[in-house]
């Protein structure tokens, strides 16, 4: 398969009031052309950090400490991690070849400009479409994401649209430049379930039509299962397990992955059955436990091994890697 992104041993750090933390601690993954990669994990595990590093939009207190992010652009391959902030090639990453949609469709549009204005800005930045046709193209994009009455909506302000419509408009804006990779950072988390399904279907259809790769960052295993080809499970800044989605769902190997599965309530569960949950809390990033980061919460942890030695990723089955001593 043709590779689009290759991330190797990426370490991203943040300077905070309490000290320096490694939000992402040596992760590696690939995104192939036309493929959907899911990244799943609890909040604070560093899911979004690697995508922000890939686009080089980390907050000011964050930086790439080490590792590489190879990006195979249409104008050649380069290491994103080593680009200077003024490098012209950053423009390829910002909306031209990679586009991003976010969790908060409410506030991801600026409230004082029309939807059309903000979509046309993307068109202006990344295409050669003449000024007179930009509005028509914006309308066409809105129609593509199945917004009713796009001619009217294009002149409306974000507050006049519902949450689902705003997320559709976000997708329309992302599509303006025919991106090769769409990064969707919890795109449906703030939407209700029926709208969520519509948006996910829309994304799938558009992926086919545009031949894009998608990076789906989500905490919801249901969304990941429905939309992705490959999944990376993250815990405390590390990828603990990675496999094809179907394989992972059938055969979760890491205790954290199976604990996550068990904590999803099923409609078929008997009434009165207690909700399963993972004991303990995610340790804060300032006091990451020695050994396997999951051992304090793991029901199968072995004294003297799991709390001492950091497990290295191993290939348990073809294309299925897992970092655990117990296998």
């Amino acid at each position: 398969m043709e590779k689009l992104v290759e991330i190797r041993d990426l370490v991203v750090r943040f300077r905070t009031d309490e000290g320096i933390v490694s939000a992402v601690n040596g992760i590696s993954y690939d995104i192939n052309v036309g493929e959907t990669l899911g990244i799943v994990g609890e909040s604070g595990c560093g899911k979004s950090v690697s995508s922000n590093a890939l686009m080089r939009i980390l907050p000011e207190n964050g930086w790439i400490e080490s590792g590489s992010i190879l990006y195979h652009s249409q104008k050649g391959t380069f290491d994103v991690a080593r680009l200077s902030p003024r490098d012209k090639r950053l423009e390829l990453l910002h909306g031209k070849e990679i586009a991003m949609i976010f969790q908060e469709p409410m506030t991801s549009f600026c409230p004082v400009y029309t939807i059309g204005n903000q979509i046309m800005e993307a068109i202006r930045l990344h295409t050669d479409i003449p000024k007179s046709e930009q509005k028509g193209y914006a309308v066409e994009l809105l129609r593509k994401v199945r917004i009713a009455k796009p001619e009217q909506r294009v002149d409306e302000y974000p507050y006049q649209l519902s949450g689902g419509m705003r997320q559709r408009a976000m997708i329309a804006m992302a599509l303006a430049s025919h991106p090769r990779l769409l990064i969707a950072d919890e795109p449906t988390t703030s939407l209700d379930v029926t709208v969520q399904a519509q948006i996910l279907n829309l994304m799938k259809d558009l992926q086919q039509e545009y031949g894009m790769s998608i990076m789906m960052i989500n905490h919801n295993f249901g969304v990941i299962a429905e939309t992705t080809d490959k999944v990376a499970v993250m815990y405390l800044g590390r990828i603990v397990e990675m496999a094809d989605t179907a394989e992972l769902l059938q055969n979760p190997l890491h205790p954290y992955t199976s604990d996550l599965f068990r904590s999803i309530p099923q409609v078929t569960d008997a009434r009165g059955k207690k909700l399963e949950y993972i004991h303990g809390n995610v340790p804060d990033a300032y006091s990451i436990p020695a050994g396997c980061p999951y051992h304090p919460r793991c029901s199968r942890a072995q004294k003297g091994l799991c709390d001492r030695v950091m497990p290295q990723p191993r290939e348990a089955a073809p294309g299925h890697t897992v970092s655990c001593h117990l296998l």
Binding site: M55, I57, E60, E91, H94, G95, K96, A99, M100, F102, Q103, E104, T107, S108, F109, C110, P111, V112, T114, E121, A122, L125, H126, Y157, Y159, Q160, M170, M173
Partner: protein, 328 residues
């Protein structure tokens, strides 16, 4: 939008009537009036009271009539542009205010622009370079500016100036020019004096504006739409100006409403300390002396300015913020 403005202008008519009644009643509230105070003052110093003169004034301004008659007389004159007569200064209120209006408004507007020119770029730089050396310096200096009262700063500067040059730094003109007609020399003389009040106003005004703008902009910079625009590839500076700066300015537009009356009355205490010929001190002395027509007129003008200011700020807000525009 046009309908809205017309509606607002129509509402101003009853509001102005109400304002005039309130102003008049409040000024009349203290016992006695200017003439009785004047007479008793003269008597206490043993001077003869010119009964005829007092009677003439009483009749002329209807002071012997009930309050509502006095009110209508005053308001009727006001509508024709005649604001009455100042007992203290023995001149018409129009002439008194007119003489000071130019200096007052000029000082206010010039200082306002100076504050904007200094404070907005400072706030912009500070917010976009949070916790840098410059940001920390600006913040520390602005703490000083916010905490030191204007009059104290004025006294301090006057003291230092006097120690250094041996000259008195108050007023807007030297004695030679105070009553001279406007000329290039008089203008130069004013520039020699005006820097002290300007400096004081700009230091204190900038500090406050800087702090609010910095905080507003920092709030906006962390909003998701900024990240969206970054991911979209909007060039850095253009992004800042088009998105967060524009939104961080909206709160300032809504303060235009109370900026307008300040153009007239602003810097009262500072003007008294520095002996500036502006309207502020005029209002204070007129209130102290129950100089009712002068006080009433100034307060009425300030109320009118507040109403106009609020209308202007609402129109500007509607122009900048579609959420407000569409709810009109």
């Amino acid at each position: 939008m046009f309908k809205y403005i017309v509606k607002r202008l129509l509402i101003m008519i009853p509001l102005l009537l109400l304002l005039s009644v309130m102003v008049f009643v409040i000024i009349q509230l203290p016992p006695g009036d200017f003439l009785t105070t004047y007479i008793s003052k003269l008597q206490s110093t043993g001077m003869a009271v010119n009964e005829e003169y007092v009677e003439a004034l009483k009749v002329r301004y209807g002071l012997d009539k009930p309050m509502y008659v006095q009110y209508f007389k005053w308001f009727g004159q006001l509508l024709q542009g005649n604001m009455g007569y100042s007992f203290v200064h023995n001149r018409s209120v129009n002439a008194l205010i007119g003489a000071r209006l130019a200096t007052t408004v000029t000082l206010s507007i010039v200082s306002l622009f100076c504050i904007w020119i200094v404070a907005f770029p400072m706030g912009f730089y500070s917010a976009t370079h949070k916790y840098s050396l410059a940001d920390n310096t600006f913040t520390a200096v602005s703490f000083f500016g916010v905490s030191v009262p204007e009059f104290l700063l004025a006294i301090g500067i006057m003291y230092v100036y006097f120690q250094a040059t041996g000259k008195y730094a108050g007023g807007l003109f030297s004695d030679d020019f105070a009553n001279a007609p406007w000329s290039l020399a008089k203008f130069g003389d004013m520039l020699n004096h005006v820097w002290i009040p300007l400096l004081v106003i700009v230091i204190t005004g900038t500090a406050g504006l800087f702090k609010t703008f910095r905080a507003n902009l920092l709030d906006e910079l962390s909003k998701p739409y900024v990240k969206t625009a970054r991911a979209k590839g909007v060039p850095h500076l253009k992004l800042l100006i088009k998105y967060p700066v524009r939104i961080a300015l909206i709160p300032f537009i809504s303060t235009v409403g109370w900026l307008f009356p300040q153009l007239i009355s602003g810097q009262t205490i500072l003007s008294m300390v520095l002996n500036l010929p502006t309207i502020g001190p005029l209002l204070i002395t007129s209130l102290k002396n129950q100089d009712m027509f002068l006080a009433g007129s100034i307060v009425f003008i300030m109320g009118l300015m507040a109403m106009i200011g609020n209308l202007v700020s609402d129109i500007l807000l509607a122009l900048t913020d579609p959420r407000i525009r569409n709810s009109m």
